[in-house]
């Protein structure tokens, strides 16, 4: 029988695990409001919002934020287009080399970021492309495409084939069927895939280190802050911001794809 209450040992272990996972994050959140600027005492002597004003007044912080947003938006856009096209090509037809092609598509997310980064850097060098915003975007797009591809192909597989046939039967050509039937059914999968891709790109650091050149995205800025102890409260504020920007889309994507079953194939 299933009992409502777990044994206290298990509950203690579960809470312990959660605390272990999230304690460092809680510390960062807490010290973003700390009144001291260098030596930290626990518990904090007082709480203040002044670091938010300080952080938002610094041009290097603002530049890094705006670059990261720019890169994430571009990478997401590329991923949405390429990921959708790739999944549309691969979900139904079988052709020679299909399996290896889908493996190659998914590979960037399985490869260690450091490999992707080195590979991209040497590729850009041999092509004579200067590292900059463009190379960061391309680097991020390699794994963002996979996220969109996985989301879209899962939705396509769940979409009843007879909906597409019904559309063709009623006189719609391929483009009209895509526009009126397939795309609306993909809507939430695209949104979810896009949000996840955005979140991944926004806090990516390993691939970015190799492809950024002199540009500084927010995660790189944060990494550089480690050598400046006097700025720690500002760093905490920025870290909190990164957390919010990446966490909210992931939560959103989770809720969007969760209800996806009701969308497709409700004819049965």
């Amino acid at each position: 029988m299933h009992s409502d209450k777990a044994p206290w040992g298990l509950r203690l272990a579960a809470w312990g695990g959660l605390l272990f996972l999230h304690f460092p994050i809680l510390i960062i959140l807490l010290y973003a409001f700390n009144t001291e600027d260098a030596a930290f005492s626990f518990p904090p002597r007082g709480l203040t919002l002044k670091w938010f004003t300080v952080a938002l007044a610094r041009p290097d912080v603002l530049d890094a934020i705006s670059l990261s947003l720019q890169v994430a938006c571009l990478a997401t856009l590329i991923a949405l287009v390429l990921g959708t096209l790739a999944s549309a090509a691969l979900y139904r037809r079988s052709f020679l080399g299909k399996e290896s092609l889908s493996l190659v598509l998914i590979l960037p997310i399985a490869l260690p970021g450091i490999i992707t980064g080195i590979a991209l850097l040497s590729a850009f060098r041999s092509l004579g492309i200067e590292p900059g915003v463009f190379t960061i975007v391309v680097g991020h797009a390699t794994f963002c495409v996979v996220i969109v591809y996985n989301n879209v192909i899962a939705r396509l597989r769940r979409t009843s084939q007879s909906l597409i046939e019904a559309s063709m039967d009623l006189g719609a050509d391929g483009w009209q069927t895509f526009r009126y039937i397939i795309l609306p059914n993909l809507g939430s999968a695209l949104l979810a895939g896009g949000m996840l891709a955005f979140a991944l790109s926004f806090d990516e650091i390993i691939v970015t280190t190799f492809t950024a050149g002199h540009e500084r995205t927010l995660p790189i800025w944060l990494l550089n802050q480690l050598s400046r102890p006097r700025d720690v409260p500002v760093t905490n504020v920025v870290a909190m911001l990164v957390m919010l920007v990446t966490m909210l889309p992931i939560l959103g994507a989770y809720y969007l794809t969760r209800g996806g079953d009701a969308v497709a194939g409700s004819g049965k």
């Binding site: 909906l163 019904a166 063709m168 039967d169 009623l170 006189g171 009126y180 004819g267």
Partner: protein, 343 residues
């Protein structure tokens, strides 16, 4: 009579499997034509060949005299009612019905009024704003019908459209579909595995078995003169007698079919030309309008006999299981069959 759909020696193979094997059919304009067979017999593949979702591996299909090969589904003057209805879940009922008009560029006002009319025709006026998920199975089925009919196709294809409905609703829809077809004069091609449904609605029925057509005929002829053992046992129930017993009873070595309701229990009159047999009464089943007897002849052959309970009085039961009985039927009631495998 002009032909709506014509199959000439059409085959469709999937790898090694012959889903449709050398099928030739002529479907006349305005006909209610059924494709009847067990699942996997090729009837749905034939329907999909007409709709254009499948291409024949060999043979030719003509729709209203025009070769259909290479014509995509959206350029064919046929519409389909799908087995799972395939209503677009993200559109309301009115937009579902108006979809075919929309993609053909019909102005909004006209397509909405035509869609409303089509909904009224299937008794769903006022349901336009609902989503498919808010409808019952029977209502979805009607929406699917309206969505196909609003395009005024010359041929309507129906893929087991009543399969998901309960019995009462199914019988009601059978009558409505038949009336609709008479009223509109459109050719209906109706796929079903339910022989009662096929018999009661169709002008003609093609019986499918393993990708081939066993017989194409009117319901009455199909029932009274089945051509093969398969048709005899798939359409209604029948006793198929083969071999030495067939030769002894009918004078010909070919198998023959005798319907249970054409057999009488008891002794035939002395002057009649009836076939007379004798055996052990194994079982009696009272079924309301009829009583069913199972007689085992001395050769081992089982014979199903059905007698109508057509008197309102409760008749005294004249037979008991385990006793020996005689049974007889008129010579003419036997139908000689082609010597093929039974179902």
């Amino acid at each position: 009579m002009p032909l709506a759909v014509q199959f000439t020696q059409v085959s469709r193979t999937f790898g090694e499997v012959k889903a449709v094997d050398q099928v030739s059919i002529d479907i006349a304009e305005g006909e209610f034509f059924s494709l009847l067979g067990p699942s996997g017999s090729g009837k749905t593949t034939c329907l999909r060949l007409i709709a254009g979702f499948e291409q024949p591996s060999s043979g030719s299909i003509r729709i209203h005299g025009l070769e259909a090969a290479g014509v995509p589904p959206y350029q064919r003057d046929v519409n389909t009612v799908f087995q799972d209805y395939a209503l677009f879940p993200h559109m309301n009922v009115l937009d579902n019905v108006a979809y075919g008009l929309k993609v053909k560029g019909t102005p909004k006002a006209e397509r909405h009024s035509r869609a409303e009319n089509a909904l009224a025709m299937v008794a769903l006026a006022g349901y336009g704003a609902r989503k498919p998920a808010q409808l019952s199975g029977g209502q979805r089925q009607r929406v699917a019908l309206a969505r196909a009919l609003v395009n005024r196709p010359r041929v309507l294809l129906l893929d087991e459209p009543l399969g998901a409905l309960d019995l009462k609703l199914r019988e009601q829809m059978q009558v409505e579909l038949k009336n609709l077809q008479r009223q509109l004069g459109i050719t209906f091609v109706f796929v079903t595995h339910d022989q009662t449904e096929a018999l009661s609605m169709s002008d003609r029925v093609a019986v499918f078995n393993r990708g081939r057509i066993e017989q194409v005929d009117t319901p009455r002829n199909l029932y009274l003169n089945p051509a093969t053992p398969f048709v005899a046992s798939f359409v209604g129930t029948s006793n198929v007698v083969r071999g030495a017993l067939a030769e002894a009873l009918s004078g010909s070595p070919a198998p023959f079919s005798i319907r249970p309701e054409h057999i009488r229990l008891g002794a035939a009159g002395p002057d009649s030309r009836h076939v007379q047999v004798e055996g052990l009464l194994r079982d009696i089943q009272y079924q309301g309008s009829a009583t069913r007897f199972e007689v085992q002849l001395d050769s081992g052959q089982l014979l199903a006999v059905s007698q109508a309970n057509d008197s309102w009085q409760a008749m005294p039961q004249a037979w008991q299981p385990g006793q020996r009985v005689q049974a007889h039927w008129p010579q003419e009631a036997m139908t000689q069959l082609q010597d093929t495998e039974a179902y």
